[in-house]
């Protein structure tokens, strides 16, 4: 396989989902089974191609960067700048190759799952079309080699998430959620846009390579290190929006209004992964300050989301907050400098979180059917308080769910243990190196919280007794298209796919393939070098492992004690700590806070502007209009009275003279002769003396 072939194949992978989108959006209803087979097989093809690229890349071109750049717009010579052109292109490094597989894999499984989950939906083919469009947008982000295309596909991801979250737009909450997701994302995108413009203004190129080499050669934005930090943080703002980081995390839980497979796609492989991927791509230009900022944002997000997840009762809401929390982990990992670990967590998390969402979809599907069978339209099919005991009825879903839960809790032998452990070790090393000890503390605390709320979810959903015996009889395991993706993803949640050593990923192929890129920022503002960091990680690795294991174990134990053995009365604790509990149930009042400040502020500002428009602008316009009317009226009057009066009176006078003078025009020659004689005599009289 030549490099050109790999790049061409990557382009084909990018275009395949677009083809699926175009086919389904135009001919969806005419295709057999409304086109779901077409869409699923196209994604399957993309998955196989991606796997081919990954293997070829790792085997033949392990350390090479495959890059293809072409000039899209040549501005020729621009005054004051010189040669200016906009280069676009694609590139494949190991990160790209891995992401290609992750995106197409999750997308393919979601397609497969949806053929069963969404059957009978009113906009079935359009749903699949949008899935294809979403995959296309995400793949665009993955294979681009410049910030320009990154931004374009970034916005495409935004619009396709809007379309999918609002799939059931007849529901007010769904259409609201889709708008919220889109608008909140825009807030972050503005920052990213400014960041990209800072880079363009200074380097006149947007390719990663061009920017990094310019910075490496000592050319930094506006010749000041703070500007470089600002550029990094502004680009990170895009990730705050897309990856649902504090303070823009509020859209993600609401996005649960979309169909459950869409949640799996958004929260595992696409959209939220885009933000983490962006940080990974922009990593070399991040200064130490920017990275600390990123690490704190990640830690705060992880903590807030984990605390909220404890108090939620909707199965999808718990998973949504766990996603936010895990994304916080990834961002924190990248921020502390554990580049590989952060990206590794993105990959492992993509598998088990997609699995968790699909499994919850399977549960909701079963609950929904049972409730439908009973003609019960009041019970919430997503509330875990209405579940319990599903283990007996849905064994495949249960065991898959357990595997994912073990993975997300960081139990050994799972993929989640490997990645989480590396992040925690990285944060501990970071704490030791820089003194920011708050970050590892939050990291370990969140690990415990995660284990607790995930096992709470498992116990309440699958163990114990079902709340309604009659309904229990009608619960059934989901059909094959739904269980196969669950099994595949459960397999991918084991350690063996990433490293043969179950207690350390650093010797596996993944850590070998994805290495922390060299920082290009000036030494004065650079974070600790990769080598120093590696040594620090090595020193604390075992300590981090024991700590995280014991904290996770404690969390699991606590969950069992509370919800399975009932040794601890959860309700009593909730009552005793009712202010805190209410605070958590209401999600730290973020929505209320934003409604009271940003939303109310915007509405208030709009009101003020509307008032200004209505009263002042309209007043001025109307005033000008009435002044004009008055002037016209006066000038009209002047015209009709003065000007016309002068003209008319002249005419009248002329007529009057005419009337008088016509009297002497008798037509008789004799009269005229008489006048002539009279005139002659007058002349004689006048000139008599001359």
């Amino acid at each position: 396989m030549t490099q050109e072939l790999l790049l061409q194949l990557a382009t084909v992978i990018l275009l395949l989902p677009l083809l699926s989108f175009l086919l389904l959006i135009f001919f969806g209803k005419k295709l057999p089974r409304q086109g779901d087979v077409v869409a699923t097989s196209i994604l399957g093809l993309a998955l196989l191609t991606s796997l081919g690229i990954l293997f070829a890349k790792l085997i033949f071109y392990h350390d090479e960067l495959l890059n293809y750049t072409f000039t899209w717009v040549d501005f020729k010579t621009v005054a004051g700048i010189g040669q200016l052109k906009l280069d676009l292109g694609i590139m494949i490094d190991n990160v790209t190759a891995i992401m290609l597989v992750i995106v197409t894999l999750i997308s393919f499984l979601v397609h497969l799952f949806s053929t069963a989950y969404m059957s009978g939906d009113i906009r079935y083919s359009r749903y699949f079309a949008y899935l294809g469009f979403f995959s296309f947008s995400m793949l665009g982000i993955v294979i681009t080699n410049n910030f320009f295309m990154m931004y374009v596909f970034w916005e495409l991801v935004g619009i396709s998430s809007y379309l999918l979250i609002g799939h059931w737009y007849e529901k007010k909450s769904a259409s609201d959620a889709s708008m919220k997701a889109f608008i909140v994302n825009r807030v972050g995108d503005v920052g990213m846009f400014i960041g990209i413009n800072i880079l363009w203004a200074n380097f006149h190129t947007l390719t990663f390579e061009g920017i990094f080499s310019a910075i490496a050669s000592g050319h930094i934005p506006f010749d000041s290190n703070p500007w470089l930090t600002a550029a990094g943080i502004l680009i990170f703002c895009g990730a705050i929006g897309k990856s649902a980081q504090f303070p823009l995390h509020v859209w993600l839980p609401d996005a649960m209004e979309g169909p459950t497979p869409v949640s799996a796609l958004i929260h595992a492989a696409t959209m939220v992964a885009a933000g983490v991927y962006l940080i990974a791509r922009a990593f070399p230009l991040m200064t130490a300050d920017a990275l600390v900022f990123i690490a704190y944002i990640g830690a705060i997000t992880a903590f807030i989301a984990a605390t909220i997840a404890i108090a939620q009762n909707d199965i999808k809401k718990v998973l949504a907050y766990s996603t936010v929390s895990q994304l916080g982990y990834m961002v924190m990992g990248l921020g502390v400098g554990a580049y590989t670990a952060g990206f590794f967590h993105l990959v492992t998390h993509a598998a088990f979180k997609a699995g968790l969402f699909l499994a919850s979809g399977s549960v909701i599907h079963a609950m929904h059917n049972a409730l439908h069978h009973q003609n019960d339209h009041h019970t919430d099919a997503q509330d875990i308080r209405n579940m319990g005991g599903l283990k007996k009825k849905m064994p495949i879903t249960f065991w898959a769910f357990v595997v994912y839960t073990l993975a997300i809790s960081g139990v050994p032998l799972t993929s989640g243990f490997l990645s989480k452990d590396e992040i925690l070790a990285g944060s501990l090393a970071f704490g030791n190196l820089t003194g920011h000890t708050l970050i590892p503390m939050i990291g370990f605390l969140v690990a415990g919280l995660t284990a607790f709320y995930m096992f709470r979810l498992v116990i309440l959903t699958f163990l114990g007794d079902h709340k309604d015996a009659a309904r229990f009889e009608h619960l059934h395991e989901s059909p094959k298209p739904m269980t196969i993706p669950l099994i595949v993803l459960a397999c991918l949640s084991f350690f063996a796919f990433y490293s043969f050593n179950p207690f350390g990923a650093s010797s596996g192929w993944f850590f070998h393939a994805v290495e922390r890129p060299m920082s290009v920022v000036p030494n004065a503002v650079a974070a600790a070098s990769a080598q120093m960091f590696e040594e620090a990680v090595h020193n604390v690795h075992f300590m981090a492992m024991y700590l995280s294991l014991s904290i996770a174990g404690l969390g699991i134990l606590l969950a069992f004690a509370t919800y399975y053995w009932k040794r601890i009365n959860a309700d009593a604790i909730a009552k005793a700590l009712s202010p805190i509990h209410t605070f958590l149930v209401n999600k730290w009042y973020f929505d209320e806070l934003y409604n009271a400040t940003v939303v109310a502020g915007t509405v208030g500002l709009s009101r003020v502007l509307a008032w200004f428009d209505n009263k002042v602008i309209d007043g001025i316009v109307n005033g000008v209009a009435s002044v004009t009317r008055l002037t016209s009226f006066a000038s009209g009057r002047f015209d009709s009275i003065v000007v016309d009066g002068v003209v008319n009176s002249l005419a009248y006078l002329t007529g009057l003279f005419g009337l008088v003078l016509r009297k002497i025009q008798t037509g008789r020659v004799q009269t005229y002769i008489a006048f002539v004689l009279f005139g002659v005599m007058v002349f004689f009289f006048i000139y008599r003396s001359v």
Binding site: Q665, G667, R668, Q670, I673
Partner: protein
């Protein structure tokens, strides 16, 4: 005391004759009468010419001029009578008061 007939006498006669002619032209209704008035005016001019020929420095030039005037008067009378005949055919009258189509 013998009365000398002088230039002034001729001019006086001529002026009186001219006045009669003008009076006739201005007051007569009949076009023929108007023409006769014109003849009077012309003849008053002739008297002037001859008087200036006798008493002034014109000598025979005055008589020559008056002969020219007589010839012209004959021509003028012929043309004018033709016009009057045409007017009569057009308006059935030779009364100049009624021939006022020049008015409007």
């Amino acid at each position: 005391m013998p009365m000398h007939v002088s230039l002034l006498h001729f001019l006086f006669i001529s002026a009186i004759l001219f006045s009669f002619g003008v009076y006739a032209v201005v007051t007569r209704r009949n076009a023929i009468m108007v023409l006769m008035g014109i003849e009077l005016i012309l003849n008053s001019a002739n008297i002037n010419f001859i008087a200036f020929g006798r008493y002034g420095t014109m000598n025979l030039d005055g008589q020559m001029a008056s002969i020219f005037v007589i010839i012209l008067a004959a021509c003028e009378a012929a043309v004018a009578l033709a016009i009057v005949l045409n007017i009569y055919q057009q308006f059935n009258t030779v009364n100049v008061d009624e021939v006022d189509s020049m008015r409007e």
